[in-house]
């Protein structure tokens, strides 16, 4: 439907996969590090995009990121579970947290929903800071190492980029599916969507939980990559940056999520010389985008083609 113009994404993914596999031959460790961090953000923003696609602005994605990260870290450090088990349990626990938070939060709409998710995000972050005996509090936790061969940056690069490409593929398939069209219906008019028989509550909770799972997976990957965890990584500021990425890129579009990641991560990096001022630049880009391109960059392009098609007949 709306994303038909981008149905060639499968080819793009295959091309990207090819490039990814040979990239370590040509680029140094620093750039591999950048790609790993961007891939982790792709997981976060693609996950958040499922929720924003329905017109709900969630501001607690960083909290789910934290739940996944702390679960994976604690399992690895305290229980000694294998890396994959920690990663998967972290992902599912974040998904479970998503379900528990989503259930009451989706009783609200619009700004109220955003405020409730912001509150839950702040509560979880406070827990990360204050449950000293479990989370290590302000000191954080160290020594969270991945198993062989993933302590090599190159291998970890393949792992994380592989997950990011899989997330892009899943997101693309989801938005093109019948379920994806139901998300569009909810965004367009939730009351009408319910009246024609869409179980909107189930759709919203599914998306919120799946988005949280993606964030949890990203958390597990991140913590095993930098071998350290601290509550400061999961503050609401990160949730805002992720939301800004989705809104600028274009909600409800996989391409938009990728673009949004590039902007949310890339822009502050490019303007690092400006210190904290770089976030002012990101804010200005957000204001300009929502003022002139309310559908986001990719959303506007997709809608332009959609309208053009409708005028052609």
């Amino acid at each position: 439907m709306i994303e038909k113009k981008f149905s060639s994404i499968t080819c793009l993914l295959l091309g990207a996969g090819g490039l990814v596999s040979i990239a370590p031959l040509f680029i140094g460790q620093y750039f591999l590090h950048i790609i790993i961090m961007v891939s982790i953000w792709v997981l976060l923003i693609v996950g958040l995009n499922f929720v924003v696609a329905m017109g709900y602005n969630s501001i607690c994605q960083a909290a789910f990121y934290g739940v996944g990260a702390y679960t994976a870290a604690l399992l690895t450090l305290r229980v000694g579970t294998p890396f994959w088990v920690s990663l998967i349990l972290g992902m599912f626990l974040a998904g479970g947290a998503g379900f528990l938070i989503g259930y009451p939060a989706f009783r609200m709409r619009g700004h109220y929903f955003a405020i409730v998710t912001l509150a839950f995000g702040l509560i979880l972050n406070l827990l990360f800071f204050n449950l000293n005996t479990i989370t290590g509090g302000d000191r954080g936790l160290t020594g969270i190492f991945p198993p062989f061969p993933f302590f090599s940056v190159v291998w970890y690069y393949y792992l994380v980029v592989g997950f990011a490409l899989a997330a892009i593929f899943i997101s693309h398939k989801l938005f093109k599916s019948r379920f994806g069209r139901q998300l569009v219906a909810i965004r367009e008019d939730e009351d009408l969507a319910t009246q024609i028989g869409i179980n909107t509550k189930k759709c919203k909770l599914t998306c919120f939980s799946v988005g949280a799972c993606f964030a949890g997976l990203a958390g597990g990957l991140m913590v095993h990559y930098i071998n350290f965890i601290h509550p400061e990584f999961f503050t609401f500021g990160y949730s805002f940056t992720m939301l800004i990425g989705v809104l600028i890129g274009g909600a409800g579009s996989t391409i938009g999520a990728i673009l949004g990641t590039g902007i949310a991560v890339g822009l502050p990096e490019i303007f690092r010389f400006a210190g904290q001022g770089r976030y002012i630049i990101l804010g200005i880009v957000l204001i300009v985008t929502v003022s002139f391109l309310p559908r986001g960059i990719a959303g506007t392009i997709v809608h332009y083609f959609y309208q053009k098609k409708s005028r052609g007949e």
């Binding site: 069209r181 139901q182 569009v184 008019d189 009408l192 007949e313």
Partner: protein, 238 residues
């Protein structure tokens, strides 16, 4: 097919509906008329599960609908249109219908969508965005969206409001065809010509109370209805 048993609904101190009971028989077109604020749309909202009645039951195919969520009621075969147009305005007519068909578990072929849109004479505009449609076209598309849900019972809230005489006639013809295809219709309408032309029976509400239930011809002669709603002049016109 649908039986309302002593439906009562209050909003604070206002009694919107009081002890409303009537039946809709399979394959009939039942008109629901009354002055503004009589409770017609509230009754639609109760049947479709948007409001819960304070008292009474809505029995559809031998099941009480009162505790079912809105989407389940729609999936059981009750579809509705709205007084104020409600559609997915930023999508094409085709995509509106596609979403409706998919909800009911069908994967519609292009031809199915064309057929449905030709029913409301919008086939040539199937790729157009809905917000570009005229008011009458939007109303017709709203009916098509309801029809694509393959309802057993179709609730239409003023489907001809804002239409020209010619468009009204076309819409009535379409409703008659739907009935012939086996759909039962509950119709809210202010146009008494339309009501008398198409309805088998008419139920009249006034201030939340049922004041008459009869054939259109008898309703036109009913003194209570004339006083509460129709007025002598309108009866003559109709």
């Amino acid at each position: 097919m649908l039986e309302l048993e002593k439906i009562t609904k209050k909003f604070g101190g206002i009694v919107a509906l009081e002890n409303i009971s009537f039946q809709i028989i399979e394959n009939e077109i039942l008109g629901l008329i009354g002055p503004n604020g009589a409770g017609k749309t509230t009754l639609f909202n109760i049947i479709t599960g948007l409001y819960r009645p304070d008292r009474g039951k809505v029995i559809f195919d031998n099941q009480n609908l009162c505790k079912l969520p809105v989407y389940r009621i729609a999936r059981r075969g009750i579809a509705r249109t709205f007084q104020t147009t409600k559609l997915f305005f930023n999508l094409s007519a085709e995509d509106n219908i596609r979403i409706g068909c998919e909800v009911m578990g069908r994967i519609p072929e292009d031809q199915d969508i064309r057929n449905l849109l030709s029913l409301v004479e919008l086939e040539s505009k199937r790729k157009k965005l809905v917000h570009q449609f005229t008011c009458a076209e939007q109303k017709r598309l709203m009916i098509a969206l309801a029809v694509c849900l393959q309802p057993k019972l179709l609730l239409l809230d003023e489907p001809t409001a804002g239409m020209s005489a010619e468009e009204t006639l076309e819409t009535l013809e379409m409703l008659d065809n739907l009935r012939k295809d086996g759909t039962t219709i509950l119709l809210i309408e202010h146009n008494m010509r339309a009501v008398s032309k198409i309805c088998d029976r008419v139920v009249v509400l006034n201030f939340g109370k049922l004041i008459a239930e009869d054939s259109p011809g008898e309703i036109m002669k009913n003194q209570k209805v004339i006083e509460a709603y129709l007025g002598e002049e309108n009866v003559l016109v109709a």
